[in-house]
Symmetry: C2
Subunit: 376 residues, 2 copies
C-alpha cells in the first residue's frame, strides 16, 4: 500500500453486486476495472495471500463483464474473434480464448463459456471488448445478438473451497471437472458455477445471474465458511506470479502477441475458418517473436510485493527489456518477477540487472511458471 | 471526499505525462478513466472551484485519449461514426461529435478536431472507442488508418487563462476563436492549442504531442502563472452542473439517446450520408423520447457537493425518474442537480421529491443550463 492515494466513489464508476459485502468485510483498497470498483486489498497483499492458502477466500470479480453472443452465427462469430479452435469446445465447457487485433496483438484475454449450441459468454479482462465484438458483428454481417447480460462473477479460492462449495450447493460440486460448469439455482439465486483458476489454487467461479442477490450470495457463503477459515481477498500479485498467470494491461497488452508470452499453444493456424489476426500470426509464426515474457528471480532479501512502474532490464549496461511485476513469494522464499526480454536474451539461466529507482536488482532468468496447478 | 477509500498505483493503469506534476502540486484524490489515473481533487471540490474562478487553473485531462482517423476515407468514416454533419467543419475547427450505437444510444461523446482534409481526431470520454472505430473501419472497408497518437490534453481554465496563454505562447492566442485550434511549437514542445470549454468558463486545451514533455509544459505554465493566481484542479461537479455540461457514464450512457439529453440539435437526419444510428434516431424523432434529462433545484440548506449513488425521484409517491448528480453552487447560492424524468413530468416548474438515504429532498424542475458560456 505504499503507492497509493485516495479514490473517490461516485455514480460514474459502477459498483458490483458484492460491493456492500466487500466494504462490510474490510476492503481497504480498490482499483477501477471495466468502469467498476475492484477491491484489491483487505489486510494487505501478503496477509491476504496467507489467508487464502490457509482456508477459503471470496473474491469480488464482478468487474469481469460477460459478452454474450447468441443466435444462428454465435459459433461462427466467436470463432472469428479468437485464434483458439473453439469448435472443440463442448456445452458446459470453458476455454481460455483471447481476442486479438488484426496485427495479432492482445485486445483482451477472456475465458469463453459455451452455454448452449447458439450461446457463448466471454468473461473479459479490463477493456470495452463489447464495442469491438458488436462492431465486428455488424460490419461482417454475423447474425447474432451481442449483449452484456446481468452476470457478475464471484470467485471462491483456496484449499477449503471445494468443501465450502459442496456444503452450500451440494455434493455434485465434487464431480465438477476443471474448466467445466453447470447452471444451478440455490434458494432462488440463479447462477452458473464453474471450476476455474485465476491462481493455481483450487478455484470456483460463481457467475451470479441476478445483480440484486449479490449480498445474499456472499452472506450464504460467508456463514457456511465460518468453520472453514473463510476470508475476503482479491486478485493477488504473489499468487499471480507464482502461477505464471498474466494480468491484461499489467503484464501484456496490445503491443504483444501470443508467441511473446508463451500462449502460442492455443493458436490453431491449421483450422479452415478464418479468424482475426490469422495472417499476422502466420507471419510471426515463421519469423519468430522479437521478445519474450520470462520469469526472473531477484537475488537478496525479500522485496516489496508491488511496483508502481515498469523498470528497465539491462545486460552489460545495455537495455534488453523491462520488468513488469515483482513480488516476494513466502512459500517459495524467492523474489519473483516477470521480465520482457529481447528474444536473444530470453533464456533461462541468464543474469540480468533490473534498474529500480532505489538501486539495481540482480536477477536470474527462469522459465515460467514457478508453481503448477493444485489438483484435487 | 466523504465517499472515498484507497486507490493503488500500479503499472496496469497508465499515468499521464503530467502525473508527477499533479502529485507535486497537491493532487489528493483520483479516479480511473480510460485506463489512466485522473486527478479530481486538490483542496476539495469547493475550494478547487473558487481557485479556478479567482485566477487560472491547470487540469490534467491526459485521460482524454485521441482517436486519429487518417487516410482517403477519413471524412467518410468520421461521418459514419457520428450524427453530426461534419462536412461543415473547417480545418482548424473542432465540433462536439458524439458516437452513437445502432440503437441511437451514446457510445461516447467526443469532441472532433479536423486536423487536415484527410485527418481527424476524436477526443474521447471514458470508454475504449478505439476498438469500436477500428472494428467499424475494418468491417465496413473504410480506407483509413485508425490509431491512438501520442497526444495528451492539458486544460487551462478560468478568467486569467487568456492572459496566461498569451504570455506564454504569444498574442495570437487573443485571436483564437471558440472551438478553433492551431498547431504550435513552443521551445521544442509540439502542441495543438484550442479554445474549448469543459466548463462555461474561459478555457483552452493544449493537446501535447510528446508525452515526454508533460512536466516541462506544466512547469512553464506554472511559472508564468505565478502573477495570475494559478492553481491546479480537475473536472469539477459544481462547474459541470452550473454549465449544464454532461459527464459520460456519470450523467448519460448507452441507454440514452440525444433527444433525451437535449442534444438533438446536433443530429442531421437530412444529410445524404448514412451514419450509425440514423434509422433508430429517425424513429425516435417521430415518436419522441420517453424520458428527459432536466435540471432540478433542491430546496433548503447547502447540500454536500457529491453523491455516491443515483437516487430515485418521486411525484405523489410514484417513482418518475432518478437523480444523477448534485452540488451546491456558491455563486448561484442554489443546490443544483440533474434528474432524468419520465417525459410527461419533464417540465420546468414541477415539484419533485429526491429520495436520498438520509431523507427526502424537495426540489423544483428547471430548464438547463443555469449559466451560459463566458464570452471574452
Amino acid at each position: 500500500m505504499s503507492n497509493s492515494s485516495q479514490i473517490v466513489f461516485g455514480p460514474r464508476v459502477r459498483k458490483s453486486p458484492f460491493f456492500l459485502s466487500t466494504m462490510k468485510y474490510g476492503a481497504k483498497a480498490f482499483t477501477v476495472y471495466n468502469h467498476m470498483y475492484l477491491p484489491v486489498s483487505y489486510e494487505g497483499t501478503t496477509k491476504d495471500y496467507h489467508n487464502l492458502l490457509n482456508g477459503v477466500q471470496l473474491w469480488d470479480v464482478g468487474v469481469e463483464r460477460q459478452i454474450q453472443i447468441k443466435g444462428p452465427d454465435a459459433e461462427a462469430l466467436s470463432q472469428f474473434l479468437t485464434p483458439r479452435n473453439i469448435k472443440k469446445c463442448a456445452i458446459g465447457q470453458a476455454m481460455y480464448a483471447p481476442f486479438l487485433d488484426f496485427n495479432g496483438g492482445f485486445l483482451n484475454d477472456p475465458v469463453m463459456l459455451k452455454i448452449a449450441e447458439d450461446c457463448y459468454w466471454f468473461s473479459i479482462a479490463d477493456g470495452d471488448s463489447l464495442l469491438w465484438v458488436q462492431a465486428i458483428a455488424e460490419g461482417y454481417k454475423f447474425v447474432a445478438e451481442v449483449t452484456e447480460p446481468d452476470v457478475s462473477p464471484l470467485q471462491v479460492q483456496g484449499p477449503n473451497s471445494t468443501e465450502l462449495m459442496a456444503k452450500v450447493f451440494g455434493d455434485w460440486v465434487h464431480d465438477l471437472k476443471f474448466y467445466r460448469f453447470k447452471e444451478f439455482n440455490h434458494e432462488g439465486i440463479p447462477m452458473v458455477i464453474a471450476r476455474m483458476g485465476y491462481s493455481r489454487e483450487l478455484c470456483y467461479e460463481i457467475f451470479l445471474q441476478d445483480h440484486s442477490l449479490g449480498d445474499k450470495l456472499w452472506e450464504t457463503l460467508w456463514k457456511t465458511g465460518q468453520d472453514l477459515n473463510i476470508s475476503a481477498g482479491g486478485p493477488n500479485i504473489i499468487l499471480r506470479l507464482e502461477g505464471g498467470i498474466f494480468s491484461y494491461l499489467g503484464d501484456l497488452d496490445r503491443s504483444n502477441n501470443p508467441f511473446e508470452v508463451g500462449l502460442d499453444w492455443m493458436i490453431d493456424l491449421d483450422q479452415e475458418d478464418d479468424f482475426i489476426g490469422k495472417d499476422a500470426l502466420s507471419e510471426i509464426n515463421v519469423k519468430g517473436p522479437e521478445k519474450k515474457l520470462m520469469g526472473a528471480e531477484i537475488y537478496g532479501d525479500a522485496i516489496e510485493s508491488s511496483n508502481e512502474h515498469q523498470f528497465p532490464v539491462l545486460i552489460d549496461g545495455k537495455v534488453v527489456g523491462s520488468m513488469n511485476a515483482m513480488a516476494y513469494s513466502p512459500r517459495l522464499d524467492k523474489n519473483l518477477s516477470y521480465v520482457f526480454l529481447d528474444i536473444e536474451h530470453a533464456q533461462a539461466g541468464k543474469e540480468i540487472i533490473i534498474s529500480a529507482p532505489e538501486g539495481d536488482l540482480k536477477a536470474k532468468v527462469v522459465d515460467l511458471p514457478w508453481l503448477q496447478r493444485v489438483k484435487k
